[in-house]
């Protein structure tokens, strides 16, 4: 187990978003999270790296084991520096080139030399197919290219876990494919991933295990073939049917 989350709870004011969610991810595994908007999918990711402060629960991550309520600064720092996140809106550093975006973490967090950082970053950008966009600023790149830079930025730090928060939801349809291809390659290379997505076919394709989240709880989970092929719960069936109707139209 690389990550184990126990009874994760999170409220915004009186609105309880996560009502005790427990799951785990094995090394090299891809965990998919699906569910309707507002079900708390993104909040799970954001609680893991403390972009949102969770209320309670227990985290076991690599060799760390701590209770969220008594988490110390070093625990938070450990989580952030050993995970990486890919955001729905890319969130590339606006005034840094593609190359500088990828180098930033290596320079500032890993304290590597400029030369080393540049060497690694060039190689990773080439891996996501952007060898000739290194000196471009985010506003000079298409959405798909920006998201590939963001994935490269996440990969550069060689994190123990990569979290992707609806990585294709803000993209034009013709750019979804190139980003999904990159993610698929990352998964094949053996990276542990936690991915929230509305792309049911894609999740079905790359995930080892899928959680269906509903109203802040895991309503159903299992292998993708079981969950998508033969859902046990009525609300899972309902959700999948709605998701499918939409994709039927887009075909």
């Amino acid at each position: 187990m690389i990550l184990q989350i126990d009874k994760l709870r999170k409220s915004f004011g009186s609105n309880e978003i996560l009502k005790g969610v427990s799951f785990s991810i094995g090394e090299g595994e891809v965990l998919g999270v699906i569910g309707s908007s507002g079900s708390g999918k993104s909040t799970i990711l954001r609680c893991i790296n403390y972009l949102e402060k969770p209320n309670s629960g227990r985290v076991r991550f690599a060799d760390r084991d701590f209770d969220i309520e008594t988490a110390e600064k070093q625990d938070i720092r450990y989580m952030r520096s050993h995970t990486a996140m890919v955001f729905q809106q890319f969130n590339l550093f606006k005034y840094k080139t593609a190359l500088e975006n990828v180098m930033e973490g290596l320079l500032v967090v890993r304290k590597q030399s400029k030369k080393e950082a540049e060497c690694i970053s060039r190689e990773i950008l080439a891996r996501v197919g952007l060898e000739n966009r290194m000196a471009y600023y985010p506003r000079e790149l298409s959405g798909g290219q920006q998201q590939r830079v963001a994935i490269a930025r996440a990969l550069a730090l060689d994190p123990k876990l990569i979290m992707l928060d609806e990585p294709t939801s803000a993209l034009d349809p013709e750019m979804i494919g190139e980003v999904l291809d990159v993610i698929r390659n990352v998964a094949k290379s053996g990276k542990t991933m936690l991915i929230v997505s509305h792309e049911m076919n894609f999740i079905n394709d790359i995930a080892d295990h899928v959680l269906f989240l509903d109203g802040g709880l895991i309503a159903e989970e299992g292998a993708p073939s079981a969950l998508f092929g033969n859902p046990q719960q009525e609300r899972t069936r309902l959700f999948l049917r709605r998701a499918n109707i939409i994709s039927d139209y887009s075909i």
């Binding site: 720092r77 990486a84 969130n91 005034y95 930033e104 000739n132 000079e140």
Partner: protein
């Protein structure tokens, strides 16, 4: 001669001898007002109790009164406070306000209220996602501010800062009210020798005007430099990159 144009030109170098005083007023008060403004902006953003109310009171007062009135308050207020302190503690602080210092303090205070609002707006203008991205790759809050947030905020803040700076150049002409001899006071003094007031003020106007044209030009150069992502990419750029 009713209007002596040659006087206008001959007076320019004479007035320019007071330019260093004007620039000292502008630069020193701008630097300190940025520091003070930043502190006030942080107090407001962090919602620090007590200090926040004090800051709000100060900003409201400073923006609600003319700069010249504030100069008078400092100019006549300092001696009053100093002589009170002298009487109570037996010290011998000066009971005539040191004019340059008074002007600097007054300008700093009147300017800081505006810069605090600019800084607050600039920090608020940076997309939240930038901070989240920085934290998500393991940067500390401090690193994120220094390397990502502040440089982005500066791009937003530069035009209003530039306007304030230009406004401040013109505001320094008020400093003569507390006996600082800068360019305006200098022009007045020079005119009192030959009664060529109009010529003297025409020279003065020309100097201010040119000074501000140069400043605006430098500011727009700086702005272009900061907005480095808004450039025109040559067609063969990608190919040269790959090579």
């Amino acid at each position: 001669m009713i209007f002596d144009i040659s006087k206008v030109f001959s007076r320019i170098p004479a007035i320019l001898r007071y330019l260093p005083v004007t620039m000292e007023l502008v630069i020193v008060s701008t630097v300190f007002s940025l520091i003070l403004g930043f502190l006030i902006a942080v107090i407001k953003i962090r919602r620090i109790p007590v200090l926040r109310q004090l800051a709000a009171f100060y900003v409201s007062f400073s923006r609600g009164t003319p700069a010249i009135v504030q100069l008078y308050l400092f100019f006549y207020g300092f001696p009053l406070i100093f002589s009170l302190i002298n009487r109570h503690y037996g010290t011998s602080l000066p009971t005539v306000a040191p004019s340059m210092l008074t002007a600097l303090v007054a300008f700093t205070f009147s300017e800081a209220s505006y810069s605090s609002e600019t800084i607050r707006a600039a920090l608020g203008s940076v997309d939240r996602g930038q901070m989240e991205a920085a934290l998500s790759i393991g940067m500390t809050q401090r690193q994120a501010y220094l390397r990502i947030i502040l440089p982005e905020a500066l791009v937003f803040a530069l035009p209003p800062f530039g306007n304030a700076f230009i406004g401040q150049i013109k505001n320094t002409s008020l400093a003569f009210t507390c006996a600082v001899v800068e360019m305006t006071a200098g022009a007045k003094l020079l005119a009192s020798h030959d009664y060529r007031f109009f010529e003297s003020y025409v020279s003065l106007a020309i100097i201010y005007w040119i000074l501000i044209i140069i400043t605006s030009h430098l500011l727009s150069l700086a702005e272009k430099k900061l907005k480095r992502d808004e450039r025109i990419v040559p067609h063969d750029f990608a190919d040269r990159q790959a090579a």
